[in-house]
């Protein structure tokens, strides 16, 4: 297992390198002069040339890439011109809230998705199964940005059950309870689609496993149905569900963009949208790189969990 984990970590290095190349290229290929955008009304030809030299933009592409890569490795992602602050600092500040939101949403979707899928499969072709399948289908089709707005309108504005946005109260008790109170609606909103997808896969995978011979063996041994389903079938089904959970982690990290915007959550997603709107390219670049790197780590974690479940993988 340790050997497998090390190999998997090593495999991530070229992918991370590829990711950084891509992020760099996307930004470098932007038509137009970034210095022009930064300087705005102060963009005299001399100023533009001076800033380009300062930023190293007058050098050839490969040289700029090496400079950029060196910066990335030393934690220097440049400076956000709009915020007048190092990109790395801003990204680090924003990463925490996004992690809180995304992990809460992923936790909800894993728990409820698997529960729904298992119940639906075990009670296949009953009314309960039909109801769960319909709910999952509706869930998959729900635009999170619309759901978020409606939840705010119904539960926050009308009923006052939850705050309408933000991560903490401005003048409140603060602490974990306050954070949890703010977290409920955004986390639920972000979790809906992922829950539905995990649920559909869990159901299909469970049905597939329940047909296997070893389930019959487990029943022939006289094991309780709880043990047949909860231990034998569920573990096998999870082997197929875990990669989908990994994919959903990606969806949740991306979907956080909508939810953070709707709920004014101070995370990377909202920062990205603002940065792109202001053409604050370096900040956008830093945000994308941070989330992509995080996702690469999530994928490694996914593979390790899968290998821990299935001894045939970790050879």
């Amino acid at each position: 297992m340790t050997a497998y984990a090390l190999r998997r970590l090593l495999l991530a290095v070229p992918v991370l390198f590829g990711v950084s190349v891509l992020v760099f290229l996307v930004v470098s290929l932007i038509p137009g002069d970034p210095a022009l955008a930064i300087l705005g009304t102060f963009a005299t030809p001399e100023n533009v040339a001076k800033l380009n030299a300062e930023l190293g933009l007058d050098r050839p592409l490969p040289v700029r890439f090496v400079m950029w890569l060196k910066g990335v490795l030393t934690g220097d992602l440049g400076r956000s011109y709009a915020l007048d602050r190092p990109v790395a600092e801003e990204v680090m500040d924003r990463l925490g809230p996004t992690l809180i939101l995304a992990s809460a949403a992923l936790g909800l979707s894993v728990f409820f998705g698997i529960a729904a899928g298992v119940v639906s499969a075990v009670r296949q072709n009953t009314r309960l199964d039909g109801a769960i399948r319909l709910l999952l289908l509706v869930g998959v089709s729900t635009p999170s940005f619309f759901l978020g707005i409606m939840l705010i309108q119904a539960l926050s504005a009308r009923l006052g059950l939850f705050p309408t946005g933000g991560m903490t109260s401005l003048f409140g008790s603060g602490g974990l309870a306050d954070l949890a109170h703010h977290l409920v609606l955004p986390a639920v909103t972000l979790a809906v689609v992922a829950t539905a997808i995990v649920g559909r896969i869990a159901r299909a995978s469970m049905l597939e496993v329940l047909r296997q011979d070893f389930i019959r063996t487990a029943r022939a041994k006289g094991l309780t149905e709880e043990r047949v389903i909860g231990v034998h079938a569920l573990k096998s089904a999870l082997v197929a569900v875990v990669p989908v959970i990994g994919l959903q982690a990606g969806y949740v990290l991306g979907g956080a963009v909508y939810v953070e915007t709707v709920f004014q959550w101070p995370g990377v997603g909202r920062m990205l949208v603002e940065a792109i709107g202001r053409r604050d390219i370096l900040l956008a670049q830093g945000g994308v790189l941070a989330i992509a790197a995080l996702y690469v780590l999530v994928n490694i974690a996914t593979d390790l969990v899968q290998a821990a479940l299935d001894p045939r993988i970790r050879r």
């Binding site: 932007i30 707005i149 982690a249 963009v257 792109i276 956008a284």
Partner: protein, 626 residues
């Protein structure tokens, strides 16, 4: 055919209706009597629906919401469809080329795809918008780019299966150019997959382009789509929720419709992708006996089966796979059930503990009596107590019958603790003792091994150890050695029979193998097409068959020490489950068949002391003549 197939699925038909309505509405926008969607009349801002200012009221600028909705839908649909088309074409082309040229072309393309897939989906789209700048066309490009990897991977996978086929080689030899091979030979074969992938992702793409517009990165004023309408409406949410609700619900409805339609298309064009198809077997086979029967008390029988009939529910109706099977197994006795595959022997064996897969299996008649208790009438909890402790199974092919994710020691320990010792240490000791009992070397290593780390013979010994764990009164072995090579088979059989006699358990041994039955069983029941056709002491039945099928089965078995014996295969095949003949099921393949054989069902009649056969010409049957 496709259209009719879709309409037959109620959900897919609903999806089709929803999508068709919305598409028609969008297409007909210029023809509909709608006010100008951009005409602002500040005098009547934010009027609620049905207030006399348009069916859906007006927005902050006094514009007609219904009209804006229809025109916005038109934009969203067009942009989503364009993005889907672009992603489909580019992604499929990459997949096809990578699969067709292989080697470094494939390597480079797939590594690039890997890097793209290392980004969370929406983030990739955002990065592209960041580079190109906000705008509807750029948003569509971004969503297309984010989806290209899915198409490329799926199409490459499918195309790889086609590239190696003979007809592709034939086309190459015929001198067709690469391009025409790709277009005329490979593309048609992967087209269903492309259509399915497009159909199942278009909903997403429409939703995500609307999402980018909602964030202000897509449609820019004065242009508007459903997403930007939603963003506008959000600003007046508290006073006029309808302005946001209308486009939001439209996006939702469109996505539901497209997903229903996509699922339907997938089921129709590529059923393999629908893993949820077919039923998962329940804890016990359904029993639907017409009138409750009394368990027939039988003094000396450890296991008495009477009139057992197990049917399968198929699309063409319910058909019996096992019909009217009866036998009695004395305490310590052994019975072989012999027959070809499909003869119903396994279903018979599984029905005893209601382990036949259900659905489709249903036990429709008969009694299984275990020391006087009717197993078929027992509640599931009682059945659980019987399984493993009173009746234990050893299955065919232990590579699929052991749980691949659990060390075998734990699987044995589980069988122990299901019926007794609750303390963990005790069960572990007992599992170790069982592993030793089945003569596996190094019990501790074996206990911690996973099934895939053991050989076939070792796995089968584990299967036997599991069956012995509950010290059962009856052992049921379903082709236990069929997957093993001849030498392993012999040693495993010897071990099995030693352990059984030590335990004093009765045995039901299911096999197609005449010589194995001969070695293991005192009595034999020969099954054909779901019925017992002959039953009696093994030696007598095999040496002097009284049913033509038994005779033919023996005649086509090679025997050790008789190298010159001519093997005589049985022509034809057993009848299908839904096409059993009216008379004798074997008549179509029987050389002795006469008209009365085909006229009516034949009864199982006593033919000698302790023997029965289901043949009216049993007196004419002999090994030489059948």
């Amino acid at each position: 055919m496709t259209a009719r197939g879709l309409l037959r699925q109620p959900l897919a038909a609903t999806g089709l209706a929803v999508v068709a309505t919305l598409v028609l509405l969008a297409l007909a926008a210029p023809l509909l009597p709608l006010p100008d969607p951009d005409l602002a009349e500040p005098a009547r801002r934010l009027q609620p629906p049905l207030s006399g200012f348009g069916a859906l009221g007006t927005d902050q600028l006094g514009r007609d919401v219904l009209s804006r909705l229809v025109w916005g839908l038109r934009v969203s649909l067009a942009v989503g469809a364009a993005a889907t088309l672009a992603a489909t074409v580019v992604g499929s082309a990459i997949g096809l080329v990578a699969a067709f040229y292989g080697r470094w072309v494939d390597g480079v393309m797939m590594r690039a795809i890997d890097v793209l897939m290392a980004f969370p989906y929406l983030l990739l789209a955002l990065a592209v918008v960041a580079a190109l700048g906000p705008g509807l066309a750029n948003a569509a490009i971004a969503i297309a780019v984010a989806n290209v990897p899915f198409f490329a991977r799926a199409v490459r996978g499918a195309a790889l299966g086609v590239v190696g086929r003979d007809y592709v080689d034939a086309a190459r030899i015929a001198g067709l150019s690469d391009r025409s091979i790709l277009v005329t030979e490979i593309l048609p074969n992967v087209l269903p997959l492309i259509v399915v992938t497009a159909a199942t992702t278009i909903g997403w793409m429409i939703l995500e382009t609307a999402g980018l517009s909602f964030l202000g990165l897509g449609a820019q004023p004065p242009q508007s789509d459903l997403g930007s309408m939603l963003a506008d409406g959000r600003k007046a949410l508290t006073t006029a929720p309808h302005v946001a609700a209308a486009p939001g619900l439209a996006i939702f409805l469109l996505a539901v419709g497209l997903n229903l339609l996509g699922d339907g298309l997938r089921d129709l064009l590529d059923p393999r992708l629908d893993a949820g198809r077919g039923g998962a077997p329940a804890a016990a086979t359904d029993v639907e006996r017409g009138d409750a029967r009394e368990a027939e008390q039988s003094g000396e029988g450890a296991l008495v089966v009477a009139g057992l009939t197990t049917a399968f529910d198929t699309p063409s109706g319910r058909h019996a796979a096992v019909r009217d099977v009866s036998f009695a197994l004395p305490r310590g006795g052994s019975l072989g059930i012999m027959g070809e595959s499909g003869s119903g022997k396994s279903v018979t064996a599984l029905s005893i503990c209601r382990l036949a897969a259900s659905p489709p299996g249903v036990i429709v008649d008969g009694v299984v009596s275990l020391a006087g208790e009717d197993v078929l009438a027992a509640p599931v909890e009682r059945l659980r107590e019987i399984r493993g402790a009173r009746v234990a199974y050893v299955f065919q092919d232990p590579s699929t019958t052991l749980n691949p994710l659990m060390p075998v020691g734990r699987q044995i320990a589980e069988a122990v603790s299901a019926h007794g010792a609750a303390r963990r240490a005790e069960t572990v000791d007992e599992a170790r003792r069982l592993i030793e009992a089945v003569e596996l070397p190094d019990p501790d290593r074996i206990a911690s091994a996973y099934p895939h780390e053991l050989s076939g013979g070792q796995r089968q010994r584990v299967g036997i150890a599991m069956a012995l764990a509950g010290e059962p009164d009856v052992l049921i072995a379903d082709e236990p050695t069929t997957a093993l090579d001849a030498t392993t088979q012999a040693t495993v059989l010897r071990l099995f029979s030693d352990l059984r006699s030590r335990l004093g358990a009765s045995l039901v041994f299911v096999s197609h193998d005449v010589s194995v039955i001969e070695a293991m069983c005192e009595r034999v029941a020969v099954m054909y097409a779901g019925e017992i056709v002959e039953e009696g002491p093994t030696a007598a039945v095999l040496s002097e068959p009284r049913h033509p099928y038994t005779a033919r089965l023996v005649a086509c078995t090679p025997r050790l020490g008789e190298p010159d014996r001519a093997l005589d295969p049985i022509e034809g095949a057993p009848p299908p489950i839904d096409g059993r003949p009216k008379g004798c099921a074997f008549a179509p393949r029987c050389r002795l068949a006469i008209d009365p054989c085909r006229a009516a069902p034949i009864r199982l009649e006593p033919v000698a002391d302790d023997r029965a056969a289901r043949c009216i010409r049993w007196e004419d049957v002999s090994l030489g003549r059948a």
